[in-house]
C-alpha cells in the first residue's frame, strides 16, 4: 500500500509538542500559527484552475496517508502568493510573469490530459494517468497548443514542482515525518557531532 511507503523513523515525534519550550520564540510561534490556522481563501485561481492544481499537487506530493483535514494545504498558499503577486526575485527569460505562467501552465496540463486520455481533464484521471501527463510536461514533450506559449519543462521544474515542494516542507507535518528539529531559538543545540542527538531533537523509535 502507498501509505506504508511513508513510514517515518520518528513515529512519536511531534514538533508542535515543543511549542511552549525553549526552542520556540514568540515571533516564530506567530508565523507557524498563521500557517496552521489562517489558511487563506482562494482568490486568484478560478474554481477549475484550483481543481486542476489540487490534483497536480497531490501527485507532486502525494498524501494518501492523510484525510482531507490532515493534508498539508498547498493550493491556498500558491493562490495567496499570486493574489498578492509576491515575486521570487528572478524570472527566466522564456517565462511570462508568474500570474500568466501559472494560468498558462495549468491550462497546458489540462490540454495534455485531454490529448492523451480521450478528452478528460487532468483532475478526472486516475493517478497513474496523471503521472503520465506530468511526466510529459516534465520532459517538455507534452501535447497541447498552450505549450507553444510557455516551455513545459521549464514550467514544471522552475515554477510548478519547486513551489509545491517548498510549501509542503515548510509545514510541521512534513517536519514530523522527516525528524526535522524545526524552530530552535533561543535554545539551539549542544550535541553537534555525528550521531549526536539532543534530548529535544526527534528521537527514533
Amino acid at each position: 500500500m502507498e501509505e506504508q511507503e511513508f513510514r517515518t523513523r520518528y513515529p512519536n515525534y511531534n514538533v508542535l509538542d515543543k511549542w511552549s519550550s525553549a526552542d520556540w520564540d514568540d515571533q516564530t510561534r506567530a508565523v507557524v500559527r498563521e500557517r496552521l490556522e489562517d489558511v487563506p481563501p482562494i482568490r486568484f485561481f478560478t474554481e477549475a484552475e484550483a481543481r486542476t492544481l489540487a490534483a497536480v499537487a497531490e501527485r507532486i506530493i502525494p498524501q494518501p496517508d492523510r484525510n482531507g483535514t490532515e493534508k498539508v494545504p498547498i493550493v491556498p498558499w500558491i493562490d495567496e502568493k499570486l493574489y498578492e503577486d509576491r515575486r521570487n526575485g528572478y524570472r527566466y527569460e522564456e517565462l511570462p510573469p508568474q500570474r500568466e505562467a501559472w494560468r498558462l501552465g495549468l491550462k497546458g496540463i489540462d490540454e495534455t490530459a485531454q490529448a492523451l486520455f480521450d478528452g478528460k481533464l487532468f483532475a478526472d484521471l486516475d493517478s497513474f494517468s496523471q503521472d503520465v501527463v506530468l511526466t510529459h510536461v516534465e520532459r517538455g514533450n507534452a501535447p497541447g497548443a498552450t505549450w507553444e506559449q510557455i516551455p513545459a519543462a521549464r514550467f514544471f521544474k522552475s515554477v510548478l514542482s519547486i513551489t509545491i515542494v517548498k510549501i509542503y516542507y515548510a509545514h510541521p507535518s512534513a517536519w514530523n515525518e522527516i525528524g526535522y528539529n524545526g524552530p530552535s531559538s533561543p535554545r539551539g543545540h549542544v550535541r553537534k557531532w555525528e550521531g549526536g542527538v539532543d534530548p529535544w531533537e526527534a528521537q527514533e523509535k
Partner: protein, 550 residues
C-alpha cells in the same frame, strides 16, 4: 565637513537587543557622504566615515531589522530577507536570484550569509600576469595587491571577531584569529574524514560568528538558522557590528528607501540622490557632496544605468562602456551523500564548518586556471527538498520517501572561480518596470569553458571525498553564489569603472564600493574582501581630507 552639522537626534533606530537608539536626522542637510546600500561595503564605509567626523547618510531599500524581534526560526517566513523584486535572468546558464545571493534590508546579505571569512590570496590580485591571456575571458590584474589589503583584512577580522583555527594552512602566513575555532559539527566531521582518507589538507573554517562572548554579544548556541537571520546576535553581520557604530557616530541609517537616481549638475558632479520612501510614490532628495554606491553587483550597475542624463547618455560613470559588464558569480555546486549515522544537517554549518583550499590554485596539467574551495553545507528541509527535487528530478512518492532520510544526508559545496567575460552582463530591461516605475535588471550569464572545467574537476573531487567518508547515494546539485564584477576597478579609465580607491574614473565625487568592483572573482567567499576594500576606501577618503591626522 559640516561643522554646523544638524545636532538633531530626533530619529531612532532599532538597536541589536530590541531597544531603540537615538539617531540623527540628516534629511535636510547636504551631507558629506550619501551611501546607497547598507551591506558589507556600505556598512563598513558608513561607520568609519562617521567616526572620522563626516556627516553620513546610509540608505537601504529594505527594513532595519531588530535581530531579536524580527528574525524567525523558519525558512519560509525568512524569505523577507531576500531581494524578491523581479529580475529577468537569461544566457546559456541563467543564474537563480532572489535568495542566497541577495539581501534586502540594513546589513544587506550579511544578515543571512554563511559567515565564511576568508582572505583572497596574493595570486588572486595578479591573475593576468600569472596565468596569461585566456581566450574569451577578460582577466585583469587588480590595481591593488594583497599587501595593500592585508592590514584591512586584519582590521575587519578584528572588528568581526572572526573565530578560526590556530593554524590556517593556506595563503600568506597570518596572525591568530581573534577567537578560537568552533567545535566541528557532523557535516564538517564528514568532510574532514573524507579529506584525511585521501590525504587532502582540511581545516576548520574561519567564521564570522562568536565562539566566545564579545562586548555585548554572546557566543553562538548553534541554532543552525544562520542563513535566516541570527536571533542571538552571535553572528557578526554588518547589522550588529558596523551599523550600530555608524549610528552611534552620528550617521543616519535610512531604511525602506529605494534610490531611483543619482543626481548630477552641469559640471558633471554628483549632487545627491533621489529616493522613494516606504508607502510613498513621491521622490525625496538627499543632497550630498559625495555619493558611494554599494548596492551589490546587480543594483549598483542598475542605478548607474538608470542615472543616465544628457551629460552621461550611456549611464553614470560609464565612459568605458563597462558598467554592467563582466558580471560574475561563483559556481556553487554541491554534492550530498547519505551516511549510516545521523548528521542532522540543520544544526550543522556554518559555525563548526570545515573547508579545504587545497584546490584553490592554478594546478599545472589540470587543463584550467584558478580553482575552488570546498566547504560544508547544511540546508534546512524546504531548501534541501527543492534541491533534491530539482537535481534528481524527484517528485511524488519517490520524493517523499527520499526525504524521510533527510537527517542522514551530509553535503559539501564549492566556491569556484568564474572568469570575467564581457558577454555576461547586467543591463536594463527594455520594457518591464518595477513597482517604482524603474526599469528592472536583465541579467545574462554563461559559463566560460574554464569555469566548466573547474566545476567538473570539483564535482569529481567532492564525490571522492564523500565516498572516502563512506557516503552512499551520492547526488549533485547545480548552484551558484555571490554577485561580482559589473563595475570593475583598474588603473586605465578606458578599461575599468573605478580606480583602486573605488572612485569612478568619470565623476570625481562618485564611488562604487561593493562586490561590483572585483576584476576577478577569486575562489573564496567575497564578504571579507568587500569589507576590507571598504575599510581601505574609507581610510583613503579620511586621509585625503585630513592628511595630517594619524
Amino acid at each position: 565637513m559640516s561643522s554646523e552639522a544638524n545636532e538633531n537626534w530626533a530619529l531612532s533606530a532599532p538597536g541589536i537587543h530590541g531597544e531603540h537608539v537615538p539617531m540623527r536626522d540628516l534629511s535636510r542637510e547636504e551631507v558629506d557622504f550619501c551611501i546607497v546600500g547598507a551591506g558589507a561595503g556600505g556598512g563598513v564605509l558608513g561607520a568609519k566615515l562617521a567616526e572620522a567626523g563626516f556627516s553620513v547618510v546610509i540608505l537601504d531599500a529594505g527594513p532595519h531589522w531588530s535581530p531579536v524581534k524580527d528574525f524567525v526560526s523558519d525558512e519560509m517566513a525568512s524569505r523577507k530577507l531576500f531581494w524578491t523584486d523581479e529580475r529577468i535572468t537569461g544566457g546559456e546558464d541563467p543564474v537563480e536570484l532572489g535568495s542566497n545571493n541577495s539581501g534586502r534590508g540594513v546589513g544587506g546579505s550579511t544578515v543571512h550569509y554563511s559567515m565564511v571569512a576568508m582572505r583572497a590570496h596574493t595570486e588572486d590580485f595578479r591573475r593576468r600576469t600569472l596565468d596569461g591571456e585566456i581566450a574569451g575571458a577578460d582577466v585583469r590584474d587588480w590595481p591593488l595587491s594583497f599587501e595593500d589589503l592585508e592590514p584591512y583584512y586584519e582590521e575587519v577580522e578584528e572588528a568581526l571577531s572572526i573565530a578560526g583555527p590556530t593554524f590556517y594552512p593556506w595563503g600568506k602566513r597570518r596572525k591568530r584569529y581573534p577567537q578560537r575555532e568552533h567545535e566541528l559539527n557532523a557535516s564538517a566531521q564528514v568532510l574532514v574524514r573524507g579529506c584525511t582518507q585521501l590525504g587532502i589538507p582540511v581545516a576548520p573554517a574561519p567564521i564570522a560568528t562568536l565562539s566566545a562572548p564579545h562586548k555585548d554579544r554572546p557566543p553562538c548556541v548553534y541554532r543552525g538558522f544562520c542563513n535566516y537571520g541570527c536571533t542571538t546576535n552571535a553572528k557578526s553581520s554588518i547589522l550588529v557590528t558596523y551599523i550600530p557604530r555608524a549610528v552611534r557616530a552620528g550617521a543616519e541609517v535610512r531604511a525602506n528607501s529605494m534610490v531611483a537616481q543619482i543626481s548630477t549638475n552641469e559640471r558633471g558632479r554628483v549632487t545627491g540622490v533621489l529616493h522613494f520612501r516606504k508607502g510613498s510614490r513621491d521622490l525625496f532628495r538627499q543632497r550630498a557632496k559625495n555619493v558611494i554606491v554599494a548596492g551589490y553587483a546587480i543594483e549598483t550597475p542598475r542605478l548607474l544605468l538608470n542615472s543616465a542624463s544628457s551629460l552621461f547618455p550611456d549611464g553614470l560613470a560609464n565612459s568605458s562602456g563597462l558598467v554592467g559588464k563582466c558580471f560574475m558569480v561563483h559556481s556553487g555546486h554541491q554534492v550530498f551523500a547519505k551516511f549510516n549515522g545521523r548528521i542532522n544537517q540543520y544544526k550543522a554549518p556554518p559555525p563548526g564548518g570545515a573547508l579545504t583550499e587545497h584546490f584553490n590554485r592554478t594546478m599545472p596539467g589540470a587543463g584550467f586556471i584558478c580553482g575552488y574551495t570546498i566547504e560544508v553545507v547544511g540546508p534546512h528541509p524546504m531548501d534541501f527538498a527543492a534541491r533534491i527535487a530539482s537535481a534528481r528530478g524527484l517528485w511524488g512518492t519517490r520524493l517523499r520517501r527520499t526525504m524521510l532520510d533527510y537527517n542522514y544526508y551530509s553535503g559539501v559545496g564549492i566556491v569556484g572561480e568564474i572568469l570575467p567575460q564581457r558577454r555576461n552582463t547586467v543591463k536594463l530591461h527594455d520594457t518591464e518596470r518595477d513597482q517604482y516605475g524603474l526599469p528592472i535588471p536583465h541579467v545574462v550569464f554563461s559559463y566560460h569553458e574554464n569555469d566548466r572545467r573547474i566545476i567538473k574537476h570539483a564535482i569529481a573531487r567532492m564525490r571522492e571525498i564523500l565516498e572516502a567518508a563512506e557516503g552512499e547515494d551520492i547526488w549533485l546539485a547545480d548552484r551558484t553564489a555571490h554577485l561580482l564584477g559589473t563595475c570593475r576597478m583598474g588603473s586605465d579609465p578606458s578599461d575599468s569603472v573605478v580606480n583602486a580607491d573605488c572612485r569612478t574614473h568619470d565623476v570625481p565625487n562618485l564611488y562604487v564600493c561593493d562586490g561590483s568592483v572585483f576584476p576577478t572573482s577569486t575562489a573564496v567567499n567575497p564578504s571579507l574582501t568587500i569589507q576590507a576594500i571598504a575599510a581601505r576606501t574609507a581610510e583613503r577618503l579620511i586621509k585625503e581630507s585630513f592628511p595630517h591626522r594619524n
